[in-house]
């Protein structure tokens, strides 16, 4: 596969992010206006300076009109796209290629999701009419399949594994408590996490990311133009995406301890960015912790931990906010919340703050390279996005 990358050719020069949470008083259009206002101000530009837009949302509106009408954009390109939970990142990826191509000079990627208007518990998807035979597990159920498989393969007893995943939730709440924009801003005692009522398999309520509303936006330009907008741009080193053939649904050898799509997208991203040892070279990462066991498996798929060892690294505190390789320093999907279309850009927002030294109480010392990752779908059948950014 030819994937040459656009390393150091595109810069992010402005970002905005709304607080995530239950915004009963804001619709999708309000959230978009809030995020974009902040992004324009961050890049120190008037709205009219942006040449083209990429709008990511899974179910909060169709076509680019959702954005152009809310922001009163006059006759500019607005691409609406969706790639499940990787939607926000997908907006960024496509905007980056557009500006790298030279077709536009200043572009915006914005993601939004309004999940709290439906009145339903959990995520609700809409599907085209079908024959009624598609398996209909809830999201927690689909990802809960990872836990017993991991325990069995690596000889970790289920009690210990429950400790491990509870530790992940605890860590992300500790981080979220330091984040004024997060949905959940209190630490949660680990015993409370462990004993919460079961939602699916080994998962309790605290193993599942929050359902929330929010929006985030990024303004990008070619690297050579970055100085016009900010003294502290961040540069894209890699953008990778992998969509799977639903291997896990057909192949009896798939054992629910890995996401092949994540492995493939990481390999591509590391090649683009010139990373040979991700455990040592990736300073910090925002990964798709839709559920705690997902984050555990991702550590191995990303090469941060050796196969079968991530559980030990978790218990050792390797990925804590003050550990050697912080993962989800902003609280992750777990405590920041997961408005689907916005999440990928929210992750980039944390990398933006960290690389510019603006992360306040969460600031990681002298980060070099940051990684963002999103996963959409379920174990065995998903899409995966990976970016690498740095100064």
């Amino acid at each position: 596969m030819a994937s040459h990358g656009i390393r150091d050719r595109v810069a992010i020069v402005g970002m905005g992010c709304t607080p995530f949470g239950e915004h009963w008083d804001k619709g999708a259009d309000d959230l978009l206006v809030d995020a974009c206002k902040e992004a324009y101000a961050s890049a120190r530009v008037e709205p009219d300076a942006v040449d083209a837009y990429w709008l990511g949302t899974m179910g909060s509106g169709v076509s680019g009109l959702l954005l152009s009408e809310a922001l009163k954009i006059r006759y500019k390109p607005v691409t609406r796209l969706e790639n499940m939970c990787a939607t926000g990142s997908e907006a960024l990826r496509n905007a980056a290629y557009a500006v790298a191509s030279g077709a536009y000079d200043l572009v915006m990627a914005v993601g939004v999701e309004k999940l709290k208007d439906s009145g339903y518990s959990g995520l609700v998807g809409s599907r085209p009419p079908d024959d009624g035979t598609l398996p209909t597990m809830t999201a927690p159920a689909m990802f809960s399949l990872l836990a017993p498989a991991y325990a069995k393969k690596y000889g970790v007893d289920e009690g210990t594994l429950k400790d491990v995943i509870s530790r992940i939730a605890w860590k992300n709440h500790v981080n979220g408590a330091k984040n004024p924009k997060a949905q959940f801003r209190s630490e949660v005692p680990i015993e409370k996490i462990k004993s919460s009522p079961r939602v699916a398999g080994m998962f309790g309520v605290f193993d599942c990311s929050g359902v929330s509303d929010g929006s985030a936006a990024a303004i990008l330009c070619r690297a050579e133009d970055a100085h016009k907008y900010t003294d502290k741009p961040i540069f894209i080193k890699a953008l990778a995406f992998a969509a799977g053939p639903a291997e896990g649904f057909f192949n009896q050898e798939y054992d629910f301890t890995t996401f092949q799509e994540v492995v493939a997208s990481c390999q591509d991203a590391y090649a683009q960015a010139g990373i040979r040892n991700p455990r040592e070279e990736v300073s910090m990462a925002e990964v798709h912790d839709c559920f705690t066991a997902t984050e555990l498996v991702l550590m191995e798929d990303m090469g941060f931990s050796a196969r079968g060892q991530a559980w030990k690294d978790v218990l050792d505190g390797r990925f804590d906010g003050n550990g050697p390789q912080p993962v989800n320093p902003d609280g992750g999907l777990k405590s920041f919340g997961h408005p689907i279309g916005a999440s990928g850009l929210r992750m980039m927002y944390e990398m933006w703050l960290q690389l510019r030294g603006e992360a306040g109480a969460r600031q990681i010392r002298d980060p070099k390279l940051g990684l963002t990752h999103n996963l959409g779908g379920q174990p065995g059948r998903c899409v995966s996005f990976v970016s690498v950014v740095g100064r």
Binding site: S118, G119, Y120, S121, G122, V124, R127, P129, D130, D131, G132, T133, P135, T136, M137, T138, P140, A141, S144, L145, P148, A149, K152, P197, R198, V199, A200, G201, P245, A246, E247, F249, F250, N251, Q252, D255, F256, G380
Partner: protein, 465 residues
């Protein structure tokens, strides 16, 4: 003449103890929340068709059809993977129609047309009444054919049709009513005696020569007189299955007959009667072929394989008799007609595909092979009768279900093929990786007034050879 060449039965997994709702002793069989008369008929018919010839006529008798207007027999045909070039008809209107259908199926066989006769009912009654407590849910199926292939040959028969107000239900009503039984017995008792006598005369069989007598009636009082009228001994009366199953509507006479055939010896003579708005009486003789014609699953095996602990209020919820607080989840959408038709063999018959280049099995069928990438080199293959094993599973407490938690599993089939599906008829605490399961045809849910049928996996109900 003609006879029964093969047969099958089905009793669902769940039981409600009658004591749980103050209705006496014993238990009644209860169809699960994902079963109906159609799905149960399919289960019974799978055994009747196993290793046998292909019928040209499909008859389905029920008083609790899944649809009031749409051919339920067509769903049965599809789930059994019978050819579309088959005649089908449905009988309803009273519980006598199960045996009446068998009679018609035997007529067809006499005329040279093999018939598959299915009878099934989900029996409900107004809470507190005798229909509720005395009823049971079950299904039975018979394959008819020439005498030369019969395991039970028809010796004789007689029928009666009687207009009286005994059991009745308007189409828009859920619960049937019954006039006082003393009146029904006054009219139906003589009808039974007369019909049974004529059937025995037609068969040239004396009452003393009968090994088994099955009496199925809407009115036990009406049937009570027959043993005396024919001077039958107690040991001649077949098990009515009341205390373990209940009276299973249109399926009952046939179910009791199947239970007799499961154990009968060659030469045994059987009188089976069904009394409702008239009477149907059939006399059979068991042949030497019974030993090889017996189905893989026997009635006593279904009865012994059970969960005894279903709460009365859950049963009422399952049957839609008791309204309850819904979860905060969207109502399921109806399945769409064109995709259902495109994928009919998958959805109804559980037919997958195998790549002819690399032999990888695919569930559902695919055009592109997951293993070797070959396009359009697939051969259809039916997986419905294959066993599978649990590769991994979870208990989903969030998903909407009438019997939470939903047990979802990834199951692997011998020789290839993997499926993510729901488990049913299972005790969640017993589910483990490696468990062996079999596939069963179920009604997943009804969305916007359309039934959604498909397959689920369950632990084996009976050990089979």
């Amino acid at each position: 003449m003609a006879g029964i060449t093969r047969y099958g039965s089905y009793v669902p997994f769940f039981r409600v103890q009658r004591a749980a709702f103050g209705a006496g002793r014993g238990a009644r069989a209860v169809a699960s929340h994902d079963e109906d008369s159609v799905s149960m008929a399919v289960e019974a018919a799978r055994d009747a068709l196993h290793g046998g010839a292909s019928p040209e006529l499909l008859l389905f008798a029920t008083t609790s059809g899944a649809y009031a207007e749409k051919t339920n027999a067509a769903t049965v045909q599809a789930a059994l993977a019978l050819p579309e070039q088959i005649a089908s008809a449905e009988l309803g209107g009273s519980t006598r129609m199960g045996l009446a259908a068998l009679g018609l199926g035997l007529d067809a066989a006499t005329a040279g047309r093999r018939a598959l006769v299915c009878a099934a009912d989900v029996v409900i009654g107004a809470p507190g009444g005798s229909r509720e407590s005395g009823g049971g849910d079950a299904a039975v199926a018979f394959l008819t054919g020439p005498d030369s292939e019969a395991c039970a040959g028809l010796l004789g028969r007689a029928s009666a049709t009687t207009e009286l107000l005994d059991v009745w239900r308007l189409p828009e009503e859920r619960f049937a009513k019954q006039w006082e039984e003393r009146f029904g017995a006054e009219v139906l008792g003589p009808a039974l005696a007369d019909t049974a006598t004529r059937a025995l005369k037609d068969a040239k069989v004396e009452p003393t020569e009968l090994s088994h007598v099955i009496l199925d009636a809407t009115n036990p009082r009406a049937a009570a007189g027959l043993p005396r009228a024919l001077r039958l001994k107690p040991e001649q009366l077949a098990d009515g299955l009341e205390s373990q199953v209940g009276r299973a509507g249109s399926a009952h006479a046939g179910l009791a007959l199947a239970n007799v055939l499961d154990q009968a010896k060659p030469g045994a003579r059987i009188l089976v009667t069904s009394l409702a708005d008239g009477c149907e009486a059939l006399v059979f003789e068991v042949t030497e072929r019974i030993a090889t014609a017996r189905p893989r699953h026997v009635v006593s095996g279904w009865i012994a394989s059970k969960r005894d602990d279903l709460a009365y209020n859950n049963w009422l919820k399952w049957r839609g008799i008791l309204p309850f607080e819904p979860p905060r989840r969207p109502d399921p959408e109806r399945p769409a007609a064109p995709p259902m038709r495109r994928h009919e063999r998958w959805k109804m018959a559980f037919e997958g595909a195998r790549c002819t280049r690399c032999q990888t099995g695919h569930l559902p069928p695919q055009r592109v092979c997951i293993h070797c990438g070959a396009i359009d080199e697939m051969a259809p293959e039916r997986f419905a009768d294959r066993g599978c094993k649990i590769a991994t599973f979870t208990l989903d407490h969030l998903a909407y279900s009438l019997q939470p938690p939903v047990v979802a599993a990834v199951v692997d089939f011998e020789g290839g093929g993997r499926l993510t599906c729901e488990l049913t008829d299972v005790e969640p605490a017993s589910v483990a990786i490696g468990n062996e399961l079999e596939m069963t045809f179920r009604r997943l849910y009804t969305g916007q007034g359309v039934h959604n049928y498909f397959w689920k996996a369950r632990p084996r109900r009976q050990a089979t050879a």
